[in-house]
Symmetry: C2
Subunit: 118 residues, 2 copies
Amino acid sequence: MTQANNLPPAPVCPVAALPTVLGALHDPVRLEMVRRLSNAAAPIRCAALYDAINKSTATHHFKILREAGLIERLTIDGQTFQNLRVDAIEHALPGLLPSIVAAANRADATVDDDQAIS
Amino acid sequence: MTQANNLPPAPVCPVAALPTVLGALHDPVRLEMVRRLSNAAAPIRCAALYDAINKSTATHHFKILREAGLIERLTIDGQTFQNLRVDAIEHALPGLLPSIVAAANRADATVDDDQAIS
């Protein structure tokens, strides 16, 4: 197994206080990252978690999510993945993540419907 | 019935998209306003919704909550109240408000416990 990059092991942060978590999630880019991770229910390669931003901007957003304790960085077979800390979030803030992801999924479905109509 | 002030009737905004709602709630002052309103389950006079800020700052925060569709301004017996739009929020974002208020209540109880110990 080789390291695809030289990223040091990222510390896993405790789930932050509610205002910090809401602040991390209120950005649409980060909300979409969390939505994709939650729906996948598995670690996802970084590049699959965003569309219209560059890598350094994505790294900034991952950092905010990681510092809020919402995600952790994993290296699997030399590739970097992000993992949603579902159990830790549910323990710290019961019910919050499912309700936010459900709302984000509904919003995403609405956008898809609108695009299908137009 | 007299008007205590000359505030025009405030328009009631639809509940905003999820990122806007999370943005409205991630500020600790606004989160505390919503927590108090939710726990009261009734309209509350404005001044009872905050502690360490001045009136104009509070007005700013009320405006953000109102524009996110979370609260509405009521005039009852000439006095201004804020009301949490519980049904509208639950309809737009099921489960979100209860999970956030529950987490905020737990955080508040923890602070109270810490103060009782110290």
